[in-house]
Amino acid sequence: MTGTLKSVVESLIFVAETPLSLDRLASILEEHERSELRAALEELLADYDQPGRGIALVEVAGGYQFRSRPEHADYLKRLSRTRPPKFGQSSLETLAIIAYRQPITRAEIEYLRGVDCGGILKTLLEKKLIKILGKKDVPGRPLIYGTTREFLELFSLKNLASLPTLKEIQDLAQPPVFEEQGELPLAAVTGEEGTGE
């Protein structure tokens, strides 16, 4: 019986978002006496106090919480050493514009996004997801950008032609129309902006 209670307490502490206090524990496990809960906690504390454990049960901020052992901090830092590209919305939007409209100049990207993109372009260049394709043959000869092989790898794409089109995604939202579809495909194009929420 105690074995089971201990195990329930263990999983509750493990899953809880914040340190779990005895009070909270008692309110979750109403069917048990506080003394039982305290005993289960004591046992757990002893279990996790064994040498060679990688997880510690600590009393913190009025409750109990599992933490990694401080002496392993160096190893844990290595977890974040090789961080893959993590995308914020603005990076993703910029990348999407370049992917779908390449070759494209910075001015064109900024026109579409309505904001300055210099910083994001630099980051994307550093991450090798985009590259400079050359200069555009217009006054000012602005740089033009396109996506890289690494971009394709990131999205597991064979080539640029495998990029899904906007239409293909939008078609998912609408059930196929049986009756009147056949006329001019122009309707599909103008309908594009309409569906935006």
Binding site: P19, Q65, L79, R83, P84, Q181, V189, E193
Partner: protein
């Protein structure tokens, strides 16, 4: 409660008595309904009495209408498939002019294959549901660990999917004011430009969807130039237009495929 016609009340009678219509709408689709009818009639799936099953199927659709449920198009498509099979079974085997050598397959065969396949995945779905579901049966640590707060933890794979990329692009386009968006392509576009564009697209790929040619621009000039360009190169027999199914996508392919490309196009 509407009383279903007495005949159908018999047909749909099961352990639940005539309270069967509680189940109305519980079918996932025409295949699900058909499987139900086959089980109910306790018939061999490999020897479906099409006439009886079709009648019951249609009666069910009637019931759905009576209950003011939308009969989805998929159910109607199946109804016509059933009727077609039924009529083919009634017809004497025709002597085919083109391919007399092949044995006529049982008209029910494809339907049976689909039903068996469907049943397999229906059961697989039930098995998925009883797996320990994260967030329902099993939980992971959700606390923030203070010692690592400032560090972003790493995933094995980057946290971005192709779908998100497309969605991001859609967001950009959706946020554009329509008026200004039109100005983007306001430069003069000629039919010759579009002919060149299309032909160079066809250098890269074997086929291009008709719609795709219109996806880039939104100005009237652009659309018209593109459309006329397609007509022009068709007339010049430089490209072929094909459509696999009615109302399906129209495909534009080069009229003459390069020998070098031929192996790519093989199926």
């Amino acid at each position: 409660m509407t009383n279903p016609p007495s005949e159908s009340a018999n047909l749909f009678n099961d352990n639940h008595g005539s309270g069967y219509n509680v189940h109305v709408g519980a079918f996932e689709g025409p295949l699900d309904l058909l499987l139900h009818l086959i089980k109910k009639n306790e018939v061999d799936i490999y020897d479906i009495p099409i006439a009886a099953v079709t009648r019951q199927y249609l009666e069910y659709l009637e019931l759905m209408k009576e209950l003011n449920l939308d009969v989805a198009g998929d159910f109607l498509v199946m109804a016509s498939t059933l009727l077609q099979i039924k009529s083919r079974l009634l017809l004497p085997v025709q002597v085919d002019e083109e391919g007399g050598e092949e044995e006529e397959e049982d008209p029910r065969a494809e339907l049976v294959r689909r039903l068996i396949e469907y049943q397999k995945y229906k059961e697989a779905a039930q098995q998925l549901e009883v797996l320990p579901l994260l967030g329902r049966d099993a939980f992971v640590r959700s606390s923030e660990l203070p010692e690592l707060k400032e560090q972003q933890l790493v995933d094995d794979t980057p946290d971005v999917e192709l779908f998100e990329l497309v969605e991001a692009f859609r967001r950009v386009l959706a946020s554009l004011p329509v008026q200004t968006f039109h100005e983007v392509g306001s430069e003069q576009i000629t039919i010759a430009d579009r002919i060149n564009d299309i032909l160079s697209l066809l250098q890269e790929r074997d086929s291009v969807a008709f719609e795709e040619l219109f996806s880039e621009g939104t100005t009237r000039d652009y659309l018209i130039a593109t459309f006329l360009a397609v007509l022009e190169i068709c007339k010049l027999k430089m490209v072929k237009l094909t459509q696999v199914s009615s109302f399906g996508t129209i495909w534009i392919t080069r009229a003459v495929q390069d020998a070098a490309d031929a192996h790519e196009g093989e199926e």
